[in-house]
Amino acid sequence: MHELSLAMEIGRLAEERLGPDVARCVAVGVEVGTESGVEPSALEFCLEAVFSHPPWNGTKAVLTRPHGDIFQVTWFEIEEDDRPQD
């Protein structure tokens, strides 16, 4: 069950990348290759756990399954504040 450490590593690298935006991150896209040795449903379960704790905010994990051994984070969706800028 290395999916938990992988989920935690995804959380860590996303926090590093997003900084304070992490609290407004609504979804994260992850490619889990068919030959990556990662079990997508286990990873999804673990990401749900990681993303339910601060600084995360119930963020949704969107997993895709390309061919090959790729295993990477491909996008973040951040909710923007729509207040008019002056």
């Binding site: 938990l4 450490s5 491909t74």
Partner: protein, 223 residues
Amino acid sequence: MTVRKIEVRERVMARNDELAAQVRARLEAHGIAAINLMSSPGAGKTTLLERTLAELAEPLDIAVVAGDCQTQNDADRLAAHTGRLVQAIVTGGACHLDALQVNDALDHIDLDATRLLIIENVGNLVCPASWDLGERARVVLFTVTEGEDKPLKYPKMFEKADWVVLTKTDLLPYVPFDADRAVQNCLQVNPRLQFIRVSAMTGDGMAEWFDFLRRSVGPLARA
């Protein structure tokens, strides 16, 4: 509220791979060969290492890092066979070692006085395969009681390995295990694999294992 999308390409294993490169460079600088020993639980990693340390700990300047989910039983078992350092890593439930843990363990080892580092990974035929530890060679132990089909069921472990050690060969008369078919299954997954057959109990084949280790090491950096 609008949603902004940020496109990235961040490999999840990138940090471990960076740390593994760091471990590799550190070992290289000291001329140390590192072997990552993996298998399912109970395949005989610790027993093989006990025999190895009793015979070669001093001649080959071996240091050991022993990983276990819980307890440091293995490190204690191994330390009984050598005055040289056996460094325990307790993963606290995690199913594999990672490069950060190995890098930290190196801080406790006299690298100048070491030529061969053997890492006993956590017993598991799946997870450790994904973590590069900075090793020079990956050795998988495959027991004759496991069934010939394990390389086909756990291909990644065998794909990434360099050597397969078939263990507990003293049990061959008692189990319907076809060793040649087991080897064929390994080769089907990874044609580059090389094989050693041992029984740590009777000592059969141990000379071949010792020769492999002797060939793996270079001269002592501090000599």
